[in-house]
């Protein structure tokens, strides 16, 4: 397959402060009307002396077209998923977000979250019915909320419910949770933030999954519960998952299912049958809302009836066809996010599900799974790549370029900088620790055609061939991207790091 000749936009764009011209302005806010000024006088008098701004903020001064041009150039130097074949960004490959859904989400842009309930029946209905009609059936859980504004926030929400549940049951001493190393880092970090000790299970080198006996040893009277991603980041589905939830339940714990990426199992297998008490889905992944460069997103939290009373407030309820917000829930964990979360994300996901139906959702799952089997067959043949652990993967797989590194000195970091020269996004490697050396994790979700997969594999193959033929070419990459290889090594050096233009100027003596 012919690999495209490509060059990314390269604008050598200055930092916005460098584009400033004294006196220019990009926007004129409305002033107060004469009647107002006549009545209240100048604004300054309303600010206590000590609180007045003495020195204007050092913001740049640019005309409107110049601001627009600058940020358009920055957007051009960003390879969004709509122009890219984003297969490499696995565990969370973004699927197509239908453009019509942007227009539909914008219908709530001028809605205030505290408006009287009778004036927000539309959005309350949509959120309620999305949970009640779609997500309950997809997951088997009983009740949903959309308050957590991202996947990790959803995982944190579940840690808070777990904490509260054991306290209410008179077992506050349950302060330990179990996770697996190939579960997403949020499954460890958010319970830790909630004060839990985290026990991490490591995989068997053959199967890629922790042994069930290890779980039995890890649980006990201090066990609050488990936080498990399944399929794990490796793409391997834990076939004993129902046995695992049984073990945790027998020890007195609760089970939280990380279904951020449930793409391959929609309509195939559910949290309910696997024995989970709560879960989260990332609507900005499995349910098609765009990722926004990293948010705003939304975690849909599903719980069994037993845990419904712990959901954050307010909970949307329906009585006689009227939707309202219930704050009177004594066992609620309170709030994890102000208001009701990112409801524009819920609108997009609702619209996507309506466009899919039961058959479309199952088709998305099957095709994403088949796409991955097809990709596995192709990547297997690429020299330097290998697939650790045995068995079939669902919709993604954790691969290794260890052999390439050994044989050529070219590692995954180099490959990642080179594939962008062919117009393909850098791959997601792995969360840490890198149990799989030189890892990468492609996930060819249902958005991608066979030709897209063929192209992506052809690029990876080309770059691996280059590594054998001309390793320097790969190590010095990128060559056709928006900028060049980083030479800076001060990211951990307080004397040289700079997280703002003013810090940069000071440290480089440019003031």
């Amino acid at each position: 397959m012919r690999v495209r000749e490509y060059h990314a936009p390269r604008w050598s764009e200055p930092i916005i402060h460098e584009l400033s011209t004294r006196g220019e302005r990009g926007f004129v806010p409305p002033g107060a009307e004469p009647k107002i000024k006549a009545k209240v006088g100048p604004a300054e008098g309303f600010v206590p002396e000590a609180m007045r701004r003495r020195k204007p903020p050092g913001l740049p001064e640019l005309s409107q077209a110049q601001v627009l041009r600058h940020y358009l150039r920055l957007s051009q130097m960003t390879l969004g998923m709509e122009t890219d074949i984003d297969i490499g960004v696995g565990t969370c490959t973004m699927k197509y977000s239908p453009k019509i859904n942007e227009e539909l989400a914008a219908m709530i842009m001028d809605v205030h979250p505290l408006q009287p309930e009778e004036t927000i029946q539309g959005i309350l209905e949509m959120a309620y019915e999305f949970g009640d009609v779609f997500l309950r059936e997809i997951s088997g859980m009983d009740a949903f909320t959309f308050q957590p504004p991202g996947g990790s926030a959803g995982c944190y929400n579940n840690a808070l419910m777990m904490r509260r549940y054991h306290r209410d049951n008179g077992e506050p001493e349950r302060d330990a949770v179990v996770t697996t190393i190939f579960s997403h880092p949020c499954d460890a970090a958010t319970p830790a933030t909630a004060g839990f000790k985290v026990i991490t299970l490591y995989p068997d080198p053959e199967t890629g999954l922790p042994d069930t006996e290890a779980l039995k040893e890890a649980v006990g009277p201090r066990t609050a519960g488990c936080f498990i991603t399944n399929p794990e980041d490796t793409g391997i589905f834990n076939r004993s998952i129902d046995e695992w939830t049984g073990i945790v339940h027998d020890a007195g714990g609760l089970c939280s299912y990380d279904q951020a990426n449930a793409n391959a199992i929609l309509g195939v297998t559910r949290a309910r049958e696997a024995g989970f008490d709560m879960l989260f889905f990332n609507l900005h992944k499995t349910f098609s809302s765009p990722h926004g460069s990293s948010g705003p997103g939304s975690a849909a939290i599903g719980v069994t009836g037993e845990l419904e009373e712990y959901l954050p407030v307010p909970v949307i309820v329906k009585r006689d066809g009227v939707y309202s917000l219930d704050y009177d829930r004594p066992r609620s964990i309170g709030k994890v996010r102000d208001f009701m979360g990112n409801l524009q994300v819920v609108v997009r996901s609702y619209a996507w599900c309506m466009a899919m139906g039961a058959r479309g959702l199952r088709e998305a799952a099957e095709v994403s799974m088949i796409n991955n089997q097809y990709l596995v067959e192709k990547v297997r043949k690429i020299r330097g790549a290998s697939l650790p652990f045995r068995g079939r993967r669902l919709d993604q797989a954790r691969w290794s370029l260890e052999k390439l590194k050994e044989e050529t000195g070219v590692g995954v970091g180099d490959v990642n900088r080179r594939i962008v020269d062919y117009g393909v996004q850098s791959m997601f490697t792995s969360h840490h620790p890198w149990l799989v050396p030189e890892p990468f994790t492609p996930e060819p979700c249902e958005t991608y055609s066979k030709a897209d997969i063929d192209y992506w594999c052809a690029v990876l193959e080309r770059v691996c061939e280059e590594a054998y033929r001309d390793p320097e070419l790969v190590k010095t990459a990128p060559h056709n991207s928006s900028n060049h290889r980083l030479t800076f090594d001060g990211f951990d050096d307080p004397g040289r790091w700079a997280m703002s233009w003013r810090a940069y100027k000071r440290k480089r003596g440019k003031d």
Binding site: G295, F339, M369, Q373
Partner: protein, 465 residues
């Protein structure tokens, strides 16, 4: 539709011939066979899901969704005086244009070369917010003000090794609930005590005597807000920071950055860690979906080491004078350190951070000052106008944008009546702050014309009569 004809516009490989060709390469007969290889029979759903029929036509889908969402009323159709953490400001068209750019809207986690523009826009958000705050370090924005405040006070407890934070009683109850969740712990040793400090009933500002009496050797942070939840400007910000510092605690302040063209930079009154809500700077309300929290501090290693956020750092490349970007101290984040990380980091609100960068660039120092002045004048005009009414009064006089109004009637009744005039009255505070009586929190921005405010007055004249 039969099995063969379900070709979905979002799924290219739903074409049966393509699927068969791929299955041939795989060496499998079909999806069911493959699933059975991976998932045990007992866990398979084994039936079609019971869901509504798909709406494959985009036009039909659009009409369906519109039929539901058109049941909402909006703050465009009504005049809204609601704020309380989500505020209606004018969104410049250029902000909408950039926020809807395909590349920013759909980017996820690409590399710093292929996503150079995203990295630079993130760095510029950090840079611009630091200019408003008088700080030198910020990161990728977090979920909302509440999360930013929760992270900030936790940073302070790690910095000081102390386990108590002081929070004024007039903080937003929603924010307080989020902060309490952040401070609570499943383990006794991890728990952070949240102690409330009174506010001055006459001014709505921090009760300095109560604050001084509560700062002690356990105090990790004094958290306060400027303007606070009730809209009041904390005139004694410097004294609050002094009290915190004298007690060995960190001064942590939450701000509404739209005020910073006219209000002092928090760094100028001794604040160590600033947090707040960027939603007013270019984000529509989206029924609460416009929230965007931020954290900032001085550029000192001890602070930087405690951030949970990704911190975008400017860097050099192989080409002289060319900019590149990476992440500073990434080992502290949960992506690297899992349960040993500083709290956690995840998908937050980056698109809103980029949008806020556009907003700050458009307004510049002059626009920020003028906007602040307009908000001050309009909100004070509204307050003075309402204060003149029989049956209404405005208890606190030193405020920015928001102010409680007390009524001689239940707020519930007032707001119901205002709805008949196509007005959303202020947020009912009577449950949250019973000591204020029948009070509602009114929010007035540049969006309110003098005519709208006069109409509110006329409506209230009728309602309160």
């Amino acid at each position: 539709m039969d099995e063969e004809s379900f070709i979905h516009p979002y799924i290219p490989n739903s074409v049966p011939e393509i699927k068969r060709e791929m299955l041939r390469v795989i060496g499998a007969g079909g999806a069911d066979e493959l699933y059975r290889e991976m998932i045990p029979e007992r866990l398979l759903l084994g039936r079609p899901m019971d869901l509504p029929e798909p709406i494959l036509s985009e036009l039909d889908l659009k009409r369906h969704v519109e039929s539901i969402l058109s049941k909402n009323k909006t703050a465009e159709e009504y005049v809204s005086y609601l704020g309380a953490g989500c505020w209606r400001h004018y969104v410049p068209k250029v902000c909408e244009e950039i926020a809807s750019r395909s590349e920013f809207l759909t980017a996820y986690a690409g590399g710093s070369h292929s996503d150079l523009g995203r990295y630079q826009a993130n760095f510029e958000f950090q840079s611009l917010v630091c200019e408003l705050l008088g700080m030198e370090v910020s990161g990728i924005p977090t979920y909302d003000w509440g999360a930013a405040a929760g992270n900030s006070v936790r940073m302070a407890t790690r910095l000081t090794g102390r386990r108590e934070v002081l929070v004024p009683r007039n903080v937003s109850p929603a924010r307080l609930s989020i902060i309490r969740n952040f401070c609570d712990s499943a383990s006794d040793s991890g728990r952070i005590e949240v102690r409330l400090v009174d506010y001055d009933a006459a001014t709505g500002m921090m009760d300095m005597a109560d604050l001084e009496s509560k700062v002690c050797e356990d105090t990790a942070a004094v958290y306060f807000e400027n303007p606070n939840y009730l809209g009041v400007i904390e005139a004694e910000g410097a004294s609050i920071s002094d009290v915190a510092h004298d007690g060995g605690a960190e001064s942590v302040c939450g701000v509404d950055p739209i005020s910073l063209g006219v209000l002092a930079a928090p760094a100028d009154y001794g604040v160590d860690i600033v947090c707040g809500e960027a939603q007013p700077m270019g984000m529509h309300m989206f029924a609460g979906g416009g929230s965007c929290g931020f954290i900032a501090s001085r550029d000192e290693e001890r602070y930087v080491a405690e951030y949970p956020l990704r911190l975008v750092c400017i860097a050099d490349t192989a080409v002289e004078g060319e900019y590149g970007f990476g992440q500073a101290l990434s080992e502290r984040t949960s992506y690297m350190a899992r349960e040993n990380a500083k709290d956690w980091v995840g998908t937050t609100t980056t698109l809103w951070g980029i949008t806020a960068a556009v907003y700050m660039s458009l307004l510049g120092p002059q626009g920020m000052r003028e906007l602040g002045e307009t908000v001050l004048q309009k909100s004070h005009y509204a307050a003075a106008t309402l204060d003149e009414l029989d049956g209404a009064s405005v208890p606190f006089k030193t405020f920015f944008k928001e102010f409680p109004v007390t009524f001689n009637k239940p707020v519930r009744e007032v707001n119901e009546a205002l709805l008949g005039h196509r007005i959303f009255g202020g947020k009912d505070l009577s449950g949250e702050y019973p000591e204020l009586g029948e009070a509602a929190l009114y929010c007035v921005t540049e969006m309110h014309s003098v005519g709208m405010i006069d109409e509110l007055r006329a409506a209230l004249l009728e309602v309160l009569a």
